[in-house]
Amino acid sequence: MTKETIKAEPTKELFVKMMIRDIPLDRAILDLIDNSIDGAHKLRDDENFDGLFTKLTIEKDKFIIEDNCGGISRDILLNQAFMFGKPTNYESTNHSIGRFGIGMKRAIFKIGNSFNLETININSKSNMDINIKEWLKDNKWEFTTNIEDISTLEQDTKTIITITNLHPNISDEFNLEYFLTKLKNDLAFTYSLILNKNFNIFINGEHIRRKEFEIINDANLMPEIINFTFPLEERDEDKLINIKIIAGVSKERDLKQGGWYIFCNDRLILEADKSNITGWDNNELPKYHPDFAYFRGYVFFDSKNAELLPWTTTKTGLNSDSSVYKATSFEMKKALKKVISFLRERAKQESSFKKEKIDNNPLTKLIEEDSIEKNIIEFKNNNDQSFNYIVDNPKNIENIPNGGTISYWKSNEDLNKLKDYLNLSTNKDIGEYTFDYFLELVNENE
């Protein structure tokens, strides 16, 4: 018997051609912006990013991203930035949002065949020009860069990545007005909380305005607020995650905007979610429904150590199996149930009001007229509170005449037959219709 070596090294093609399939183009671009924001975090501990920016130029034949967020240091450029995956001893950034050590490379490969990277750090300056097709021909896992030691001020630091020789499909996308509009909109949502800290993002010269997230917070209608840390027994700031849940209602009954919004280190990773990932439509909770379109829930995961956060590598989703998310979703569900109960009551009241069974609809009025919304940013330091609402004289609103209910069993076959015949959707409707129909007959004969 002999011992032989089996080849198991990765190929460059794996990274250049395969890895890029996992991520949509817009998300790849967001990865590059994440790197700028991580740079901003390194520069400003106080998280006031005034004056810092990322500028994107997106055209048919080129893509440029430029920022003034500190540049890439000699050491990181040579030993870390172009590694595939993060080396075990990498230098981490507190509250970082770039996490997996693949974002920049993946984005470059996704977009084009050539790139130039120019970066100026306070101590060094470098410039590299790479043709990826040429690089693929070579077996070495290396790039070559020009680098010189300098000394400059922080405000003069910058990084510019220029990608040319775009892949034809990417070039087509960049040419679409729709792509740019959607990207701008995505950025306004995803980085809303970071833009609020005065960070600036431009696309083709246009300054991106942040999307405002709001929720009613009024003495008469208070959202649920829950704060906790995870792991529960962990006290070391560097190892724990701070979680804040805000759940309540918005003034706008908007089917699309209703749902949960989840942020990791202020970056939105799940937008207006109504799926069973956030608790809807499982055994205990109903399906999302127009009656619940007032619902807004916001969850903030924040940690110095980004690796602890429950996001997926594309940062477009939650790792719902993570224990921190399991603990959080339990609290989310409890809060959601309270709000759902309130919204159901509103819907019932509204329906009775429309049928003129009651002469008032105080809950709808409370939401739409008598309460004020607050930006979620203002809740940063709020302590726990319970979802609560107050309406005047809730007992006087019920004015349903005395009566009883009838219940009986019928086979699905018969029920469906009548549903089709009468064009009704629920069993209850059939029951009411057939009863009323018969009653009318009796009344006519009297």
Binding site: K326, S329, E413
Partner: protein
């Protein structure tokens, strides 16, 4: 929408229900090892009779009481029938009321539904177990009767009969989220129309939900919580009913709960095995006679005036049933109150 059963029958007159209530009472007394019973809150569905509220206040001195009442239309009637001003009535579905309550003290929560297991029952189980304090009791009762609207004519035609049964199971599955396998339910062993088989299915669903919620909750607490089943009753006052429930605790109760000695009560059950509250049909005179010699073995009960052995007068089976539950057996008599 189901007709509330208070319109059909006075709960106090259902003998098995009456016995169940007294058995629960006896169990609740043991909670005094954990805390003063007056520190507990009671949440139930009082209907217009509030029988459980009266009993638990009178016997346990529980003051903090909430009755959840879904029938909003008859609000004044429920308010009028409130036995004590300290009973608070919350109008609405339990689904909507339970999530909104605060759970800051120990509770005894009895969700005594009229209807069958459905999605909203599971929702309530989840809400209660997600929130209640350690040392609390949670139990629920549901109807586990299968109503078959099959006429005798259908029964004559086996094919049609089977088809109708299948349709019915389909509906049950839809309404309850149960997954009764239609192809198997006709086999004698699995036939859910047989005896308490449907109840076993329901128990299964309920226990799975309880486990799931406890597990979810344990993701958020350092001290793992436990649910210990105490009640698993079957009874039949005209419809088959199942009551299931237990106590919720964490490790801080590890030494106290054994002191309660719940297992000393012969009707408690920590397993899938139900305790059947089986009520004999006896006259007042018979009850008096049996009570008189209750400490004796049945065959030693003295003969009556006509020199007949008691089991030749009252069916032996009824005597046995009575002996099992006589301490809880109700006597109904007409009275002007």
């Amino acid at each position: 929408m189901k007709m509330s059963s208070y319109r059909k029958i006075n709960y106090a007159l259902r003998p098995a229900k009456n016995i169940e209530r007294k058995m629960l009472l006896e169990t609740f007394r043991k909670l005094s090892f954990i805390d003063n019973l007056s520190n507990y809150r009671y949440i139930g569905f009082g209907s217009t009779y509030f029988t459980d509220f009266e009993l638990f206040h009178r016997e346990l001195n529980i003051i903090n009481m909430i009755s959840i009442e879904k029938d909003k239309g008859s609000r004044p009637r429920f308010e009028f029938n409130r036995p004590y001003s300290h009973v608070k009535i919350e109008f609405g579905n339990s689904n909507d009321i339970l999530p909104r309550l605060e759970y800051k003290q120990k509770d005894i929560i009895w969700l005594d539904y009229d209807g069958q297991l459905n999605k909203s029952t599971l929702d309530d189980i989840d809400t209660v177990l997600s929130n209640i304090e350690m040392g609390s009791i949670f139990l629920l009762s549901i109807n586990v009767e299968l109503h078959l609207s099959l006429c005798d004519e259908d029964k004559k035609d086996p094919k049609k009969f089977i088809k109708k049964q299948k349709e019915y199971i389909d509906t049950i599955n839809q309404q309850t989220g149960l997954k009764i396998d239609i192809s198997k339910f006709l086999e004698p062993k699995n036939n859910i129309f047989k005896e308490w088989n449907f109840s076993k299915k329901c128990q299964n669903i309920i226990n799975t939900q309880i486990e799931k919620t406890i597990q979810d909750r344990n993701n958020t607490s350092e001290d793992k919580i436990k649910y210990q089943q105490l009640f698993n009753f079957h009874y039949n006052d005209g419809a088959k009913m199942l009551t299931i429930g237990g106590i919720i605790s964490d490790s801080s109760f590890d030494e106290i709960i054994p002191k309660c000695k719940f297992e000393e009560l012969f009707f408690t059950s920590s397993t899938d095995e139900s305790f059947l509250i089986d009520t004999p049909n006896l006259t007042y005179r018979e009850i008096k006679y049996l009570n008189k010699y209750i400490s004796l073995d049945i065959n030693k009960i003295p003969k009556d005036g006509s020199n007949k052995k008691i089991d030749s007068i009252i069916p032996l089976n009824d005597i046995k049933k009575f002996h099992k539950i006589y301490r809880y057996f109700p006597t109904f008599t007409e009275a002007n109150l």
